[in-house]
């Protein structure tokens, strides 16, 4: 190595050096890094409070190098509400899994979004309950086998329901400022996701910002990490389409540009 080489990709400041407990190839790690990069990019590490959920990312308080609060299962948006109502000057994000956010925490996420709480929600959707060993999640695909849908999720004969699309659901509310879904399933997607997360954090002062990551759970899917990524690309993206569903600021900017023109 040459001392003059420039490191173009380095370890983010806002991520602690503690190795994670995540399984090999689990994309929680990528999601964490993107959040840390966003915090670095905006230079807000010292005024950020993160809130971790109950789920595989329950130990995220070890991994982010900023003040961290461990919330009860599903209630991170309520905890974040408490944080921001007390300290509107802080930057606050929640990091939640699909069981946490879309099952037990459904009321909390919807109402925080509807109140337009100025927080950033990072939603890691791996279509399964990772931490408890692979039970069905609200986002589990139809037909997907899990430890509590042993014959595959069956909305017809077993009344197990359909995958819930959180971004689309939240998009019916007036509150949110920014709603996006991004995949972490390829490097190109991750580059895009990085911009999306940064956008979300940068709009936090305006109100509720939400980024859903389509991720994986190689372990509970019973797949190798690369295979899991490919499977998700093939199967999950059609159910959970990628995109920025709402960007109130961009819309406003466009509208005023149109007016001026």
């Amino acid at each position: 190595m040459d001392a003059n080489d420039t490191a173009v990709f380095t370890y983010p400041r806002s991520l602690s050096r503690t190795p994670t407990h995540y399984c090999p190839g689990c994309l929680h790690g990528v999601a964490h890094r993107l959040v840390a990069e966003a915090i670095d990019a905006l230079g807000v590490r010292e005024k950020t409070v993160g809130i971790c959920p109950v789920g595989c990312s329950v130990l995220a308080y070890k991994y982010f190098d900023c003040d961290m609060i461990e919330a009860s299962h599903g209630r991170a948006p309520a905890v974040a509400t408490g944080v921001k109502r007390a300290r509107p000057d802080l930057v606050c994000f929640t990091y939640q899994g699909d069981g946490d956010l879309a099952s037990i925490g459904m009321a909390e996420i919807i109402h925080a979004a509807n109140r337009n709480e100025p927080i950033t929600v990072i939603f890691y959707n791996n279509a399964i309950y990772g931490m408890t060993g692979g039970q069905m999640a609200p986002t589990t695909l139809v037909g997907m086998k899990t430890s509590t849908s042993p014959t595959g999720r069956d909305p017809i004969d077993r009344g197990a329901g359909y995958p819930i699309r959180m971004v689309e659901l939240l998009n019916t509310l007036e509150g949110p400022v920014y709603l996006a879904r991004q995949s972490l399933l390829s490097s190109a997607d991750i580059f895009r996701a990085r911009r999306v997360v940064q956008r979300a954090f940068s709009l936090q002062s305006k109100g509720f910002t939400f980024v859903e990551f389509v991720g994986t759970c190689p372990t509970n899917w019973g797949m190798a990490p690369v295979e899991a990524r490919e499977w998700a690309q093939k199967r999950m993206i059609e159910v959970f389409p990628i995109g920025v569903f709402r960007d109130r600021e961009a819309e406003a900017a466009k509208a005023s540009a149109a007016k001026e023109a």
Binding site: D5, R33, R194, P218, R229
Partner: protein, 71 residues
Amino acid sequence: MANHIEIDRDRCKGCGLCVASCPRQIIELGRDINAKGYHFAVQVDPSRCIACQMCAVSCPDVAITVYRGRK
């Protein structure tokens, strides 16, 4: 020097995502195992590296640093 990456062998969990992500296919999982028992990734032909960061962004364990060489 030239473009290249450094892989922190003790952070690496041998998941292979970087291997699959490299457009130049110059990363492999090695034969050796690290302290945690994983076959960690190695860059086998740095000279072909274009410092595109594809590997680094896809690594869940942030084990990769990418360097761009001076032309």
